[in-house]
Symmetry: C2
DNA sequence: GCAAAAGTGTTTCTCATACACCCATGA
DNA sequence: TCATGGGTGTATGAGAAACACTTTTGC
């Protein structure tokens, strides 16, 4: 059992699948591609592809992220491994083990499918239906993970451009959690956490056309939130 | 790139590696096996093995858990996927992608290596040194994950036998976190969380030979802890 | 002036912390 | 009776929630 004959077993293919999230008009969107061939031809799926012989799953995920979004520089984007899906029958053609990742984008340029012929499109999270393979489950797992990490990490700034207002940061939480938050309390909480955000002195921006211009902030250096910013009593939350 | 020629790529081997934790005499222990062959012959490593063509990584992990611990029934044990390690050079012989798992055991029977010739041994977490491959990192990641999940899930009961005292449950937290906790407050916190533990009426057990016998509890049905039981200010905790 | 959005102040209540104290048992 | 571990009570303070209120802008 500890032997290493390369061809002793049916070969495994190793792929990456990406749940790429962004915020558009205050709503959570996810990047989907339309499948061009069987199985699941014509259905939507998460972007992804094979891990090449000389790269890690992380490298493959970042490469695919660049190809599918059409962005030239994806080096600064948040990319995080979720878990690996390995049910023997998850792909009807052969044994495919897939390492799933979540990626967060500040802005959402219209996706153009990269080099693949596949069509890529930003879709509101709420209207996603019937993804190919087990991608529906992967996407749900990804959203749950991102929602959970908003509670105890500074992850929310990964959804924001380099300079952002506290209102925009709050929109991230509200979009991912699907709940409204009290603005004064949110503000106090964020500013009271050292290293979460740092003020850009003097800078301000008008957000809704009207109203007082909001002060601008940059992402801070902290990674964790102490104490956490808990969701408003979701009662029975999965572990 | 979207083709599915089974042999178009150098084959990947897919393995599972297990970080199996238990508590012995109030201290966190890990199950290690001694490697019998190159590379890393004679060094200690995490137990693990190949994923077979007809099983998922989860199935493979549970099978290995039974083989390595020598336990006949591992169906009720807590087993949790951590992440996948896929650096191209992590195994010098060929391309091996490994899905890492953490497992928690209530009691620690002396391990007898199962069917493999390899020697298996429980080792205090603090005295683990120089594991083979990237197993040192996997083990560190596993402990961090388990420590974090103690905060906001009921995971701690997975370290305990079917009936346990609150003192034993507290020892789990103290051993994994490496900190002392206030007993009265710990007790209140646990009992105030619905579904964490349920009392066994009338049952009691002497723990240290002396002292008042402690009431017995069973694991409850809840999975998550609301609000969480936070570690005493670890300051800069990784996300 | 009015609507809209940012930002401040204040009150109330919950809960974590710290620590003093009592109870039951074996030696 | 004393040491040991289980279990209870309580004062204090920090922080979260709720909401009233002020400020600055465009129309």
């Amino acid at each position: 059992m500890d032997g290493y004959d390369k061809y002793a077993f049916e070969p495994f293919a190793v792929t990456v699948d990406l749940a790429v999230f962004t915020l558009r008009a205050g709503a959570l969107h996810v990047l989907l591609v339309e499948r061009g061939r069987e199985p699941y031809a014509g259905q939507w799926a998460l972007p992804g592809g094979f891990v090449r012989p000389d790269e890690s799953a992380e490298s493959a995920a970042r490469r695919e992220l660049g190809e599918e979004t059409g962005l030239t520089d994806v080096s600064g984007l948040h990319l995080e491994q979720l878990r690996t899906y390995s049910e023997p029958d998850r792909d009807p053609r052969m044994r495919v083990v897939s390492v799933a990742f979540a990626a967060l984008l500040p802005d959402a340029p219209e996706a153009h499918g990269g080099s693949d012929a596949a069509q890529a499109r930003w879709t509101p999270y709420g209207s996603v239906r019937d993804l190919a393979f087990d991608h529906g489950r992967i996407l749900a797992d990804a959203r749950e993970r991102v929602g959970a990490k908003l509670e105890y990490t500074c992850l929310a700034t990964a959804f924001c451009p380099p300079e952002f207002t506290l209102g925009e940061l709050q929109q991230v939480y509200e979009a991912v959690w699907g709940t409204a938050l009290d603005r004064p309390n949110f503000r106090r909480k964020v500013l009271a956490t050292p290293g979460f955000v740092e003020a850009v002195p003097g800078a301000a921006r008008l957000t809704g056309g009207r109203g007082k211009p909001a002060a601008l902030y940059r992402a801070g250096t902290a990674a964790a939130l102490h104490p956490p910013l808990l969701r408003p009593t979701p009662e029975g939350r999965p572990a």
